[in-house]
């Protein structure tokens, strides 16, 4: 196989090392990457990879992440691919830089390249200093010539930095003061808020600007473009007061009314849909047929910070600062909406709060850019309000999942059908979706064209819909419902959480039919899948799993497992719960296999966080609708897990350092939901198949008994 066939995407898109690496006169290494920091610690891990391959001290590396002027185009930071694809690309680039530098020095010294080694950025020959380093040679070496991926990276046995828990580079600033996009200050700053169009097609027929100005109590500028309204002031509190008052003084027509039942996954079933079948043809097998239906409702990213963007138009050039997941896709989308060529737009990434997928970041960037085009020579700092964040962010789609299995005489599945009803899981501007303000402009956006990621990209509603187990025939019937009550898009794991929840709860139901232990039953279905079996066995061992016992006494144990996307990291999770009127999580154990791990503590941090966020989705979260639209508009109406509700967590990465790195950001999500589902079923003696496991749901199933 040729090397080119296996080169990672970020490398093939950006083969020029000069796009990634520069040696600056102050003896620092300027590293530029396209993957961005969204709280996952990627900037630290990528710096480690570069430092390792180049043998340059970490503290000599300055990193720029996400910038259309100066950093490579790596698309969007999604799908747990930043180490798998971005890291693998950077490793090849760094290896090439090192090789070119060594080749140049070898020429000078008239020696073989193999005689030269690198220590702290300086070159040694036969262990002796040469007086040369990367910086002294930089002017003589052309880094712009494209690399071909042939320079061999270091052998893993030689790693000193990769595989160690280097402290996060972004944390000190975040703990002490300005660190986020919200904190940027630029000249001629105007604070901006919006009056949001209640929904696509709504028309603003009256706006009492005088009343809004009275409420603002300060100098206020009101900008209107069709049904897009911005409120601006040099004083933030004035803009904020205006924005709080504006909805009371605006009259909208053609507003779409939502009904509470539309917030349930069941509403999707039977709607007009685009259908596909993924997987095997039905097995020619007769046996007992068992089926069960599971669901998750619409859920919110619910970032802790409101979306924010800065934009300024000066001398015909538009500069935008955004916490977007992808600066290049955002620039392209802005160009299309604003009717500008991309070379008149720069997008710079600036850190926001954790986004967990496609939240309001891109929408806020368009808001700010629209205003900046109208008001040049100012920096427009646009920030969403809390109720705007909840009310207008794209939601994670509701999903209804029905599993049907044909069982053999021993009670093992031989044919598996996973029938999924879901809205789209990715409606980014580059994927058929619209940025919000585009729908409010005098020439509004065309209708969105919802589609899901391809199966090769991991699928959307189908993500993790094929069980990992050794089953003769497995398939997904996928019904993508293109018209949903609210805009939906990527939320951590896409369809993986509901699919893994359904699969792993159903596996427990199958085990219970024949009186098998859930762990032993799973292991019996994992012939030829040693990495899966290993994490399941290890998680059970960590938890002191000793068989489930009869259950039904309010105290329960459950296990869940998945390999994310069936090709990324493996995770098995055991949960211990107590249930009376509510679910209380006591302890959670997780064993994960992520191949060669760049930063073990960073990976564990991601897994721990994924466990707690998934737990919150499973037992607490649902976006509610009422006639006015989204009714979950603050933290009181959209409660999430609190400090007093978090379980103790033990997380372990099993050693798989000879394997390639696998992204960990989403691997624990589905297994956690499933482990809690199974633990609650064990505790109650009756199963909850619909998330979230609220007090009402628990009372409902107990009454039905």
């Amino acid at each position: 196989m040729s090397a080119a066939a296996t080169l990672p995407l970020s490398f093939t898109t950006n083969p020029s090392p000069a796009r990634w690496v520069r040696f600056d006169p102050d003896r620092t290494l300027h590293l530029a990457v396209g993957k961005v920091e969204i709280g996952q610690g990627i900037v630290t891990a990528l710096t480690q990879i570069a430092a390792e391959e180049l043998d340059v001290p970490l503290e000599r590396i300055r990193i720029l992440s996400g910038d259309t002027d100066d950093a490579p185009d790596e698309g969007a930071t999604t799908s747990s691919l930043s180490i798998e694809v971005g890291g693998a690309s950077l490793r090849l680039i760094a290896a090439e830089v090192r090789a070119r530098m060594i080749d140049r020095l070898a020429q000078r010294l008239n020696c073989a390249p193999g005689e030269i080694t690198v220590q702290d950025g300086a070159f040694l020959r036969a262990e002796a200093p040469t007086g040369q380093d990367y910086w002294s040679l930089a002017a003589e070496v052309d880094l712009s010539r494209p690399a071909d991926g042939a320079a061999p990276p270091k052998p893993r046995a030689a790693y000193r930095l990769v595989g160690t828990s280097v402290a996060r580079r972004d944390l000190p600033a975040k703990l002490s003061g300005a660190a986020f996009i919200h904190d940027l200050v630029r000249p001629d700053l105007l604070h901006a808020r919006t009056l949001r169009q209640p929904g696509r097609g709504a028309v603003l027929t009256a706006l009492d600007e005088a009343a809004i100005r009275r409420a603002a109590k300060g100098e206020l500028r009101i900008l209107r473009l069709g049904n897009f309204v911005a409120l601006l002031s040099a004083e933030e509190s004035v803009a904020q007061r205006a924005a709080a008052a504006a909805p009371l003084h605006a009259h909208w027509e053609q507003v779409r009314v939502l009904a509470p039942e539309e917030a349930e996954a069941a509403w999707l079933v039977g709607r007009p849909s685009n259908d596909q079948i993924v997987g095997d043809a039905p097995a020619d097998a007769a046996g007992t047929v068992i089926a069960a239906r599971y669901s998750r409702p619409y859920v919110a990213h619910a970032s802790i910070a409101p979306s924010c963007a800065l934009a300024e138009s000066r001398d015909g050039h538009l500069s935008v600062w955004s916490h977007t997941q992808g600066v290049y896709p955002l620039r392209a989308a802005l160009g299309r909406v604003l009717g500008r060529s991309e070379d008149t737009i720069s997008v710079h990434h600036a850190m926001g709060a954790g986004c967990y997928g496609h939240n309001g970041a891109d929408d806020a960037a368009l808001d700010a850019a629209l205003i900046a085009q109208q008001i040049p020579d100012h920096c427009i700092r646009l920030q969403w309000r809390r109720e705007e964040e909840f009310g207008f962010e794209p939601l994670g789609s509701a999903m209804s999942v029905t599993v049907r299995a044909v069982l053999d005489d021993a009670g093992r599945p031989i044919d598996w059908t996973q029938e999924v009803w879901s809205g789209s899981h990715v409606q980014r501007p580059a994927m058929g979706g619209n940025m919000l303000a585009h729908e409010a402009l005098p020439v509004p956006a065309p209708d969105p064209r919802p589609r899901d990621p391809t199966e090769a990209a991991g699928g959307g509603g189908t993500r993790n819909g094929i069980p990992h187990y050794a089953i003769l025939a497995r398939r997904i019937l996928h019904h993508l419902v293109p018209v949903t009550p609210v805009r939906t898009s990527a939320l951590r794991g896409l369809g993986a959480l509901p699919n893994v929840f359904a699969i792993e709860c159903f596996i427990d139901e199958l085990a219970a039919r024949i009186g098998a232990d859930p762990v032993a039953y799973r292991l019996s279905l994992l012939d030829g899948r040693p990495r899966a079996a290993r994490v399941i066995a290890r998680a059970a061992e960590m938890a002191g799993w000793a068989g489930c016992g009869p259950g039904g006494d309010g105290h329960g144990w459950g296990i869940g497992f998945a390999q994310y996307k069936n090709k990324s990291a493996y995770a098995a999770v055991v949960a211990e719960v107590e249930v009376d009127q509510e679910v209380r999580l006591r302890r959670v154990w997780c064993a994960a296999d992520a191949g060669m791990v760049v930063n073990p503590d960073g990976a564990k941090n991601q897994i721990e966080g994924g466990i707690l966020q998934a737990a919150s989705y499973t037992i607490r979260e649902q976006v509610r609708f009422d006639a006015k639209g989204v009714a979950s508009v603050d933290w009181a109406s959209y409660p999430i897990l609190r400090f007093s509700e978090v379980p103790e967590i033990a997380c372990e990465l099993v050693d798989a350092s000879s394997e390639r790195s696998l992204g960990v950001g989403e691997c624990a999500f589905g297994p956690t939901a499933a482990a809690i589902g199974n633990a609650v079923a064990h505790a109650l003696g009756v199963r909850l198949r619909d998330m979230p496991f609220t007090r009402e749901r628990i009372a409902g199933v107990l009454l039905a008994e």
Binding site: I38, G39, Q40, G41, S165, A167, R168, D170, L171, P172, K174, L175, S176, G177, A178, A179, F180, H182, D183, K217, G218, E235, E236, S237, Q240, A302, S303, I304, A305, P306, M351, G352, A353, G354, Y356, Q383, R385, R386, D601, G602, N605, Q606, E608, G609, G610, I611, L612, Q613, S616, D634, W635, A636, I640, L641, R642, F643, S644, V646, E648, I649
Partner: protein, 159 residues
């Protein structure tokens, strides 16, 4: 109109609207960006500051109500053991919630020399963390408490 107050030990004279949220005054007029806007509703805790030693939501607190009072923000914690403890535990992911949490932790440690885990959880329960780093945060506060107990600081040295 003007308001006099003490911010991080420095006397300030602010010619500002007394109805302005304290948070906006700190962030936009004193360039103290460590206190963060999260909800404006006293629900998430990202904006927490100390007013005369008590944790207060700065997002909904009017500037006029803190006239003559002592306000402390996270910028005053640069040499506090909490900072080192959060770094030691790598307690954070996106980090947006951490400054408000450090403030509530500081208030707890000022009052309670040897806090139990339950007391820490109770002191932090008004704060939301969406990334799921609560356990690391709890361990960081325990670590800071232990460090302070091992090396007690001179009374009043925090200012």
């Amino acid at each position: 109109m003007s308001i006099d107050l003490i911010v991080n030990g420095i006397a300030r004279h602010l010619a500002l609207d007394p109805e302005m949220p304290l948070l906006d005054a700190l962030r936009n007029h004193l360039d103290l960006k460590g206190s963060r806007y999260g909800c404006g509703l006293e629900q998430c805790g990202s904006c927490m500051v100390l007013v005369d030693g008590e944790p207060v939501y700065a997002c909904a607190r009017e500037l006029g109500t803190v006239a003559g009072k002592r306000v402390e923000t996270v910028e005053s914690l640069d040499s506090h053991p909490l900072r080192a403890a959060f770094l030691e535990e790598q307690a954070g992911q996106c980090g947006y919630c951490l400054n408000g949490i450090q403030i509530s932790a500081r208030a707890l440690l000022d009052r309670t020399k040897h806090p139990t885990r339950a007391q820490i959880v109770d002191a932090l329960d008004k704060h939301l963390c969406r990334c799921g780093t609560q356990w690391r945060i709890i361990r960081a506060v325990e670590r800071a408490a232990a460090a302070m107990a091992a090396a007690p600081r001179v009374e009043g040295a925090a200012l």
